[in-house]
């Protein structure tokens, strides 16, 4: 009697855990299904090589490159803001700061990641862009620079927290060995600690990268909605995510080509983040084995 009850309960618990698998299958099924129909109408070669993305215009082009370039441009700007700041914070907190200060600073920084992204979008559009326009008069009202910078601020805690964890996980005796040789804290940090924690730091950067690629509201609000194959950070661009938002705001018919474009674009986005997440997963696993 008890046994059956226990078995039933375990079965229920297991079923709820399996919902996560169904979610993944659901995502892949939805994206794949619509993408396949999409690629029956649009050649996959055009999709990957055409340099224009105008599915909502009369003269339709379906080249995903401008969306990918917009996504990568904002992401790279974000990483170039957050990586130096985040890594400096991590090194400062793990090698320099007194423990008490570290205990206060770390949760405070994590507030940055808790602010809803729509708020950052407001900040980028209403504060950062007007400010930058004073310095760079030719800058457009929508641009990838403001969006990228603000996104960079948002992901600082991703890099600083995870990198700090990685640095703290380096055995104490390595730090002592370096101090014992007369190295300064700075030399110890860059010659011993950072190399020893490199895999953890790389993981943090990859995850931040993946987060930035998938970020939506900041770019939808502040980067513009003009797909454009450019590296110029002062002009409007459109990211994959912003395109999906743009289409969703309109009235999309289910069986329309427009609807399928957002699934095809979503597919690319999913593949990009999936690859990045799995690289970081793989590095982390290897890294863990090294230390055991």
């Amino acid at each position: 009697m008890y046994k059956t009850k226990e078995k039933i309960i375990e079965f229920i618990l297991k079923t709820t855990a399996l919902i996560t698998v169904l979610t993944t299958i659901g995502i892949i099924w939805v994206l794949l299904n619509e993408s396949i129909i999409f690629f029956k109408e649009v050649s996959i070669i055009d999709f990957l090589t055409d340099t224009q993305w105008t599915p909502l215009f009369a003269n339709k082009h379906f080249g995903i490159l401008p969306l990918i370039s917009g996504t990568l441009l904002t992401t790279i700007i974000a990483i170039s803001v957050s990586l130096p700041i985040g890594l400096t914070i991590a090194i400062y907190l793990s090698e320099y700061a007194p423990k008490k200060l570290k205990k206060i600073i770390k949760p405070l920084l994590e507030i940055l990641a808790a602010v809803p992204t729509v708020v950052y979008g407001f900040f980028a559009l209403m504060v950062v862009t007007p400010f930058l326009q004073k310095l760079i008069p030719e800058m457009a009202g929508f641009n990838s620079l403001s969006a990228g910078i603000v996104m960079g601020i948002m992901i600082i805690p991703f890099i600083s927290s995870l990198s700090e964890d990685a640095l703290s996980a380096v055995p104490k005796y390595l730090r002592e060995a370096s101090y014992g040789m007369g190295a300064t804290r700075l030399q110890t940090s860059f010659k011993v600690m950072v190399p020893a924690a490199s895999s953890g730091i790389i993981v943090s950067v990859i995850l931040a990268f993946s987060r930035a690629i998938g970020e939506t509201m900041i770019v939808a609000i502040a980067a513009g909605q003009q797909p454009r194959l450019t590296l110029n950070p002062f002009v409007p661009v459109e990211t994959i995510t912003a395109y999906i938002v743009q289409v969703s705001l309109g009235d999309v018919q289910h069986d329309s080509l427009e609807y399928r474009t957002i699934c095809a674009a979503g597919m690319i986005l999913f593949i990009l983040t999936f690859i990045l997440n799995n690289i970081s997963f793989w590095i982390r696993k290897k890294f863990r084995e090294e230390y055991e």
Partner: protein
């Protein structure tokens, strides 16, 4: 008599906890001094005073003077990095950097900003020879130091300390993680090193202290109970507590 190192009226606190209580000691040049005592007696804390390794502990507080060549090393005009070039340290667990053998030994020179390759090569070779490791690794200098055996790793760490030509070497239970054969090699090495260096060694192992040291200091609960020639301590201790400890009645 003139001492190489001197500790005068040393009190150490960790927060409210008193770890060392009024220690006075003089350490002779070109000799091996062993610090013995049960765990938690303060001998490691005491050892780390001589290269200021306790400085980064938030709650650490020191009263009294530590003199090296008559100079108080806790004065403002002494820089820790330069002090540590003169006072090398070897740790309990072999702790080579995850770099090549060569890079490990050259580390101290490189952080001083020395770029002369010829000079670095010579120093690395000399240090490895002094550490009695040269013959074993001369063909694999670019191999990772982590690939070596525990005993070899510890000798890399000794070579690393020797490469910057210190005059004092601190050893914190350097053989406690090694097997008996590797331990014998390191002990033999310590014996030859004392011709050039002043060595202070913390050890758990009383036979080791008896074998390799010229002087022995016995610590108990933050107090220095007895300090004398090793021979005297082991054959004719003045204090009963010392005798109890070295005969294994407690500890």
């Amino acid at each position: 008599m003139k001492y190489k190192l001197e500790a005068k009226n040393i009190d150490v606190f960790y927060g409210k906890l008193k770890a060392l209580n009024n220690i006075n000691i003089g350490i002779t040049e070109n000799a091996v001094t062993a610090l013995i005592g049960p765990s938690g007696c303060g001998k490691s804390t005491f050892l780390r005073l001589f290269n200021r390794m306790n400085d980064y502990i938030d709650s650490f507080k020191l009263n009294g003077d530590i003199l090296i060549d008559d100079k108080n090393i806790y004065e403002k005009d002494v820089f820790v990095d330069e002090l540590r070039k003169n006072v090398g340290m070897v740790f309990q667990k072999p702790n080579p950097f995850p770099k090549s053998i060569f890079e490990n030994v050259a580390y101290g020179l490189k952080i001083q900003g020395i770029k002369d390759k010829e000079f670095i090569n010579t120093r690395v070779k000399d240090a490895l020879k002094q550490a009695a490791l040269w013959e074993e690794v001369k063909d694999d200098l670019n191999k990772s130091a982590l690939a070596l055996s525990g005993g070899q790793q510890q000798r890399v760490c000794i070579a690393r300390a020797l490469a910057v030509e210190p005059s004092i070497i601190l050893m914190d239970e350097p053989t406690s993680a090694l097997d008996p054969i590797a331990t014998a090699k390191v002990e033999k090495l310590i014996h030859t090193l004392k011709e050039k260096y002043t060595i202070i060694i913390v050890t758990h192992n009383m036979q080791q202290a008896a074998r390799i040291s010229d002087y022995t200091a016995f610590f108990y609960m933050g107090d220095l109970i007895e300090f004398d020639k090793t021979n005297t301590i082991f054959t004719n201790p003045k204090m009963e507590r010392t005798e109890n400890y070295i005969t294994g009645r407690f500890g």
